[in-house]
Amino acid sequence: MRRPVLRTVGWTVLCWLAALHLHAQRSVPVFLEGEFGIDRFSDASVRSVFPAGAAFRLGAAFALGDQERLRLRPQGGVTFFGNKIDEEVTEQLLVIKAGVQVSYDAFFLGRTTFFPYLGVDYNWVSNFDMESYGEDEVSYSKSYLHGTGISQEVGVRVQVGEWYAKVGYALFRPRLRVRRSIIDDDLSSGYRTPSSHIFPFNSFNISVGFSIRP
């Protein structure tokens, strides 16, 4: 687990350094990009628990290469899934992401530009309950499942002016660890529970976003 993390962080830092170096040398254009969208798991069993989640990303895209068609975007973001269990309890799945996305201005039709993209993110995953007993009384449980993992995403972005829509597919199979007390409770009930398990969190995503030059 440690080696892929180091590799991702290494590549991210390298991209940042390269981008900053280029920016310093040639005054590389930088775009502020943000997007909001929806994630939908491809695995039916996971999707039955969380039909869809809300995703948010923010990053600074450096325009590089020939005619500034290559975009390198260090980015961060969150994806949030909620599942209302009853009137007071909502199960939540929170994924915090940090990584880099590379896109390329492949072609355009009129005012519409098409950017195929590739992204790699390091993810922190936590699954917990939110309990609300009134307007101000909200509490969060300890996480039932938590873990990390690297995701890879491919897709295409269609941009009109400063706005764009994005469709992608993320490969993500994090290994999540279950809370020790759950293992103990299961054992008392006559079940043997492994300490960790790989979840199929591959997902389709659709987003809309903006790309502005500050």
Partner: protein, 362 residues
């Protein structure tokens, strides 16, 4: 441009609506978990109860329940169950491919035996009594024992008026004969233990001695001659365990335990720290296991002189039971009517084989 903004707004609203959908179940329900015991073992404990279990070669565990026989060679991942009715009444003893049952269905006890784990029973046809005794009264079985080579010893108490007579029988099923090997007047039979056809010990007390103690008798020639052993303080429902030809243990219902290293001639008081003892098994001359009335386990490695309690946990389940059966020093089971645990390392680690978890007893 306004048209683009309109589409984006529409897309955002649609995304928000989709993200607000609720699912079914929880993510934790997708986390794998594996039942520790085969749920099918409910056959053995639901509306049923385990009566006897024993270990055999090649990981075999076989036994008897109130409703039939069972057998497994893979720790109950799979098992066979052959239904038949188990008789409830009487005293039982289990030997190698032999189950013996004695019942008081008249003035004399009658003996029945089974060579197929209780599926079919044969009756020992001869009357178990000394027909020459003119003062024949009610004879009650006290202790039934199967020693080595499936030799049956039956300790009885005969009551004729106010008189109490202790009787000990040795029964040979192959020959179809029995003999009274001990008859002692004014003696109340307490318990008996034997190693084989020749060596046996009887624990008795004199009913006329109000503050009297217990006495021990020993034979090494199949009951032809008996020698007196030491006298011990009176105990309620004593348990006699023979470790080898010279070492004996006598457990009471309290903390008191007696240990003899000379075949019962002398005893010294020891302690196990386990309270009342339900069952004891000498696996070798040195290694002895015991099960307390509370279901706790202890082990001795010096022939029963000193004892150390075993921290018997199988996962989060406390190992407990009313019976134990060790095949050798390392491998043994502890069981009760609705549970069974196994160890393969002399009681250090235990696994659950049968337990009334919720998913087992529905």
């Amino acid at each position: 441009m306004n048209k683009v903004h309109g589409h984006i707004k529409f897309a955002l609203v649609a995304l928000l609506l989709l993200a607000g959908c609720d699912g079914e179940g929880t993510l934790l329900e997708l986390y794998p978990l594996k039942p520790i015991v085969n749920p099918e073992v409910r056959t053995l404990i639901q509306d049923n109860r385990i009566i006897h279990a024993e270990l055999g070669a090649r990981n075999q565990i076989s036994g008897i329940t109130a409703m039939g026989r069972f057998e497994t060679v893979d720790r109950f991942k799979s098992f066979t169950f052959e239904p038949h009715h188990w008789p409830e009444e009487g005293l039982f003893a289990f030997g190698v491919d032999l189950v013996v049952r004695v019942v008081s269905d008249g003035p004399l006890p009658s003996l029945r035996y089974s060579r197929d784990n209780g599926k079919t029973w044969l009756r020992y046809e001869k009357a178990l009594a000394d027909s020459g005794d003119p003062a024949l009264g009610e004879v009650l079985p006290v202790k039934l024992t199967i020693a080595a080579e499936n030799v049956i010893w039956l300790l009885c108490q005969q009551r004729a008026g106010t008189e109490s007579v202790l009787q000990l029988y040795q029964v040979d099923l192959i020959e179809g004969t029995h003999k009274v090997v001990l008859k002692k007047r004014d003696a109340k039979a307490l318990t008996f233990a034997a190693i084989d056809r020749d060596s046996g010990w009887v624990l008795w007390e004199d009913p006329s001695e109000e503050s009297g103690g217990m006495h021990i008798l020993k034979t090494t020639d199949g009951g032809r001659t008996w020698s007196d052993g030491a006298a011990l303080d009176r105990m309620a429902e004593p348990l006699l365990e023979v470790i080898d030809g010279s070492r004996l243990l006598v457990f009471g219902q309290g903390e008191t335990v007696y240990h003899s290293a000379d075949g019962g001639a002398t005893f010294k008081s020891i302690t196990t720290g386990m309270g009342a003892i339900r069952e004891c098994q000498a696996v070798t001359a040195d290694r002895v296991y015991l099960l307390s009335a509370e279901g706790r386990l202890a082990k001795s490695t010096d022939g029963g002189l000193t004892w150390s309690p075993l921290t018997a946990q199988a996962g989060n389940t406390l190992v407990s039971g009313s019976n134990l059966c060790f095949q050798h020093e390392q491998r043994g089971i502890v069981y009760d009517i609705d549970r069974m645990f196994i160890t393969e390392d002399g009681g250090e680690r235990w696994d659950v084989l049968i337990y009334p978890y919720d998913y087992v007893v529905q």
